[in-house]
Symmetry: C2
Subunit: 319 residues, 2 copies
DNA sequence: ATAATTTGTGAAACGCGTTTCAGAGCAAGC
DNA sequence: GCTTGCTCTGAAACGCGTTTCACAAATTAT
């Protein structure tokens, strides 16, 4: 392999000069610059990125921790991060966890090893205590409202859910169910808190069996619908935290001839194009923006205050 | 920073021995092994990944070249690659190109610089001539039927389209349109070839304005529908290469009261859950499998023959 | 008991670009 | 004429883990 020293020899200069030329440093005589470039050309020299990384102590690569790649939610976050990263000359490394703690820890371990310059954690499984010790002094951004960390960007889920509940109340609903991605994790907890707080204030009953968990994919929506159908005591409305799942519910309901919103109202989240296509009332959630902001937090040396993003309702035909 | 030499000093051994311990090489006395591990523990030593990469000449990281991150198609490929990569201890680096040639070339440049050990190109903009010169001797897998490369995995689009056309003929359609992601690129060309070949053999007319291009997102499907509506001379069926786009067409049509398949039949591709939800007839396309196979090709030293994946039709209510 | 292995270990070289430091050459300022 | 102050260069150190090679020590085989 041809390296910088061979270039130096052929060009008749020192390695420092070669390095200077290659990095556009000033203070190199035009003549030497040409000699170096000629040598680079002749020997087909290509820099070794790993040597640069080692020497510079950074890789210009940021890791993104996410559970799944085939959900629109994470695709959209990635898109946001990638767009911003591109502007700053950063690359993305993906740490897909499937919500497995080991895989998640591996990402942090890679960060410790300087394989990436930082991490954006879009969703997490390990406790913050576990992570806290290994991320000490490292550049990590969380997409949730974690009290303990300084770099964070998150959706105001609490208020969004409360606004959603109010909207449903205004339409006369008092028996409301909730359909969640999962029950643990800050974001889900915030949603649940908003849900229960609102119901309590309004004095409405909430039944355990009206809370549906592990709703990720469109198919899960279908399952939820069938569970709903089987309930003796049915809620008249569901707040669903993803348009994919809502699409499953709504399409299953329409197929079964259940009137929406007459028999079951659906208030969804994301405002994905799918919601528009299926005429689903949905909260717009600025997911891509969250990705962008996450990256911005990452590159900041002195972290600005946490970024809180708000949602806004798009009323359509399911409520 | 604490490095391997400090460990060696503290443990009273040579750096080679430390390296051996850290890499589970045999031929290390149990006592020295313990000394080394104690030192590692005491100094909180963590390996520098970049030094390993430089030294080993590889990074255990594979690059994935793709245009967009927020399309289910690419999310699914990624999922396939990531799953297989995990099994082999590889990580993923993302090169999002937006179909810009420069961004795509950058990915190849990174490969040359040994920042990644190989590339999986899911979709491409540069000509193969351009890429051919810079990927010489490098490990690159293409997801298309490129004559010039040895590592490739692709869907048999030609046959899929022909089968789709036959299916439409059998339902009495002779005026058929096509809705494509784009018109260039091997995969799209294969689809178009299948389309035109089939029409020619069947003796059916094909009109220029029945070919819709740049159909990527759900919204694009809506636009296509409105374009279709505006046509004086309408095709009675459309082959649509993505369920997202079909969803846009179908939902717009239903909203406008256009009967599907009575006035317009839709034959889609992907068999995404969405197709099921909207009762769209669709070809199952093993996209995830393609990702898995792509990675398998990547790790092979002597490339096996190209992997060709077939589609299979799921008939539902839109044809 | 001697030869042939196997086990165990360290020095040094290797992979390779960046950066600091010291110093030389040269022009502008007083 | 002499001092600042640039401009330009190269030697050497730095970042750091892996691997080869030579050799000693401990076994096993003959």
């Amino acid at each position: 392999m041809t390296n910088i020293r061979k270039i130096a020899k052929l060009a008749g200069v020192s390695v420092s000069t070669v390095s200077r030329v290659l990095n556009d440093h000033p203070y190199v005589k035009e003549e030497k610059r040409r000699q170096v470039l000629a040598a680079v050309n002749e020997l087909n020299y290509i820099k070794n990125a790993n040597a640069v990384h080692l020497s510079k102590g950074k890789t210009n690569c940021i890791g993104v921790v996410l559970p799944f790649l085939n959900l629109p939610y994470f695709g959209e976050i990635l898109q946001g991060i990638a767009g911003e990263a591109l502007k700053h000359g950063y690359h993305l490394q993906i740490f897909q966890t499937d919500y497995e703690k080991e895989a998640e820890l591996d990402a942090f371990h890679r960060l410790q090893m300087k394989e990436v310059d930082g991490l954006i954690v879009t969703s997490r499984s390990n406790s913050i205590d576990t992570l806290g010790t290994i991320m000490d002094g490292l550049n990590v951004v969380f997409c949730e409202n974690l009290y303990e960390v300084e770099k964070k960007v998150y959706i105001n889920h609490y208020e969004a859910i409360r606004a959603g509940m109010d909207h449903l109340y205004s339409k006369g609903h008092s028996r409301i169910g909730l359909c969640l991605h999962r029950t643990f994790g800050t974001n889900s907890e915030e949603r649940m808190r908003g849900f229960y707080d609102s119901a309590e204030v309004a004095g409405h009953e909430v039944r355990e069996e009206w809370i549906f968990n592990e709703c990720l994919h469109l198919q899960d929506g279908r399952d939820v619908f069938h569970q709903w159908e089987a309930l003796k005591d049915k809620p008249s409305a569901l707040i669903v935290t993803s348009d994919q799942v809502s699409a499953g519910i709504v399409s299953a309901a329409r197929r079964e001839g259940i009137d929406i919103p007459g028999e079951l109202a659906i208030l969804s989240f994301d405002n994905h194009p799918l919601a528009d296509a299926l005429d689903i009332t949905s909260f717009e959630v600025p997911i891509r923006k969250m990705g962008e902001e996450a990256f911005k937090l990452f590159i900041e040396d002195v972290p600005s205050s946490p970024v809180i993003l708000e949602t806004s309702l798009y009323t359509r035909g399911t409520v």
